[in-house]
Symmetry: C2
Subunit: 346 residues, 2 copies
């Protein structure tokens, strides 16, 4: 049996050991997460993402320092989906975190991907749960790069900060366009550099074009179609989230390496959380996030069950037939599910 007490009482070594087990998908990790789950749901989870070259890492470090100065505990999870095979964290600038080392109110963890699409997002979600149960008040999830992994990881966060910077190239502009839609707060970093005024104008113009109502939770996951009345999680009981005043993502100008604008960014993050609470959107997002996680877990449980029931031989046979173009993958999947006597498409 897993004893959650050391982690709940802030034992850092027990926490570090559990995070390693989660990353390695060790069997004991699941029992621990089951025991810790009742103690989750208290932290403010903030995703920080942006295109390469925007200075995200410096900004995350300054955010952590500012939160500590305000007496708040903080955990940083630096996720690097660009390194899918090595399993090694290649975020070069963790070293800049040295001024936070030795502070028991800070916990820093770098995570690299382990191969499967979705595996990283799942492990990140579990790491956040452990840090949440361990009592960290703010959890900053920093992601490098841009793409669907960021969107998936943004699902874990309550507040998403998108970092922009002036003077990046065309390809980077395209990435920024994709990130626009997941932002709750913008940080225009390097705002002392040439082109900052133009970048600010361009960002404001993009925001005017954006449709806030359709910004989030448009995933096509199957369970998402079974949506529930959205009003019931509204805390004041008076109005559903849709009727609350819409949140307009503020743009905070920062110069991370000089610490400028960082306090204002913390303020914007706090205001966003307050908005989520008051509007009922906090509960609604939480419900959608957990429904999504349930779906992912169901997919795993069902597939593992089918493999256990049918054995490798029948699956290898199906692959042979697909390879010989005797059957296509979807038809083969339906046949296997039927053979398993299990859950099949009606």
């Amino acid at each position: 049996m897993f004893d959650p007490a050391p982690i709940l009482s802030g034992n850092r070594r027990a926490l570090a050991r559990l995070l390693t087990r989660i990353e390695n998908a060790a069997p004991e990790a699941q029992a621990a997460l089951t025991a810790l789950f009742p103690h989750t749901g208290r932290a403010h989870v903030v995703g920080v993402t942006g295109a390469p070259g925007t200075g995200k890492s410096s900004l995350v470090n300054e955010l952590a320092k500012a939160l500590r100065r305000a007496g708040r505990t903080v955990a940083v999870v630096a996720v690097d989906p660009s390194s899918p095979f090595t399993g090694g964290a290649i975020l070069g600038d963790r070293i800049r975190m040295r001024d936070l080392a030795g502070d028991p109110g800070v916990f820093i963890r770098s995570m690299a991907s382990r191969g499967s699409l979705g595996g990283l997002a799942r492990a990140t979600g579990d790491v956040v749960k452990a840090l949440d149960a361990a009592g960290f008040e703010t959890i900053l999830i920093e992601t490098v790069g841009a793409g669907q992994t960021e969107v998936e990881i943004a699902r874990t966060a309550q507040t998403t900060v998108v970092v922009e910077a002036p003077g990046l190239g065309d390809d980077v502009q395209a990435i920024k366009a994709g990130l626009l839609e997941i932002a709750d707060v913008f940080a225009l970093n390097k705002s002392d550099q040439p082109g900052a005024e133009n970048a600010l104008r361009a960002l404001r113009a993009s925001l005017d074009l954006a449709q806030p109502a359709s910004r989030r939770w448009m995933g096509e996951a199957a369970l998402a179609h079974h949506s529930l009345p959205s009003g019931e999680s509204s805390q004041d009981g008076a109005q559903g989230p849709r009727e609350a005043a819409a949140w307009i993502p503020p743009i905070i100008q920062t110069v991370a390496i000089q610490g400028q604008g960082v306090a204002a960014l913390v303020g914007a993050m706090d205001r966003h959380r307050e908005y989520l609470r008051a509007s009922g959107e906090l509960g609604q997002r939480e419900r959608e996030r957990l429904a999504h996680e349930l779906e992912m877990r169901l997919r795993d449980v069902l597939l593992n069950g089918l493999v256990a029931r049918l054995g490798n031989g029948q699956i290898a046979e199906a692959v042979d037939k697909i390879l010989a173009r005797e059957i296509d993958p979807v038809s083969a999947a339906r046949q296997l599910a039927e053979k398993a006597g299990g859950v099949i498409r009606p």
Copy 2:
């Protein structure tokens, strides 16, 4: 019933219509893919990826032109995972493809993501199947950005070209490190620019450190653990793929906007395909790719079956309990699978 004849005979309007249905996940698309599947497996599928700012798009355009000059038909699939919500393709430079417009031996398609992690990779795989059945000899899949989506899409390709360029920033270097491991061929683009010599040296040094044997197919997908004898797909029957001489990714220096080095790049792509054939790795990769696709399809079929059997009420109830922290998502998934009388973890 879907009639595959128009697509097999090269009707472009029928093909375009099918690709739209695939992108929209329309129900008719699956019947079409089932009918077309026996006609797939002939094209050389080449993924072209790289960090922002490397000039991928220009290079893909030049590759398409060079292939056409050699009398070969070519399809270009430009995938943009950075735009998850809009569904609009934001690759600004498709306009540069104008000199290829009107040529019946070329087909160009831009794809944007539709929300779910994995959904884009699946749709891209199906689009490639349709283009393959339609008879295009080379299919170039261009991906923007870097991350797990690229790795997932690289699974669809037989040959992966990673585009590098001199003089990119630190963040971009980190992304490049992740892409190193999926490269079959490197294109060092913008090789007339300052720093090209240094970039070439750095790339060669990284290659010397890389372990080719462990480069690929280390996904943690469940079916991957049920691996099959790898020798049986070797075409010469004499030796298994592992014993063949290892492929060392060549570095081709290009200046895409001047067309320099593009013919050499086509040559390297062709040599890689020849290597895949001779070593038996072509069949091995194909088997692993199809096993992976079967797994994804099984996950969908099983989940849809469970939802149909249990109905929305029981799933909503489970989400309620998770939200109240009465049960964790993994335990809830196991309970639901058991209730469905279906396939459960033993």
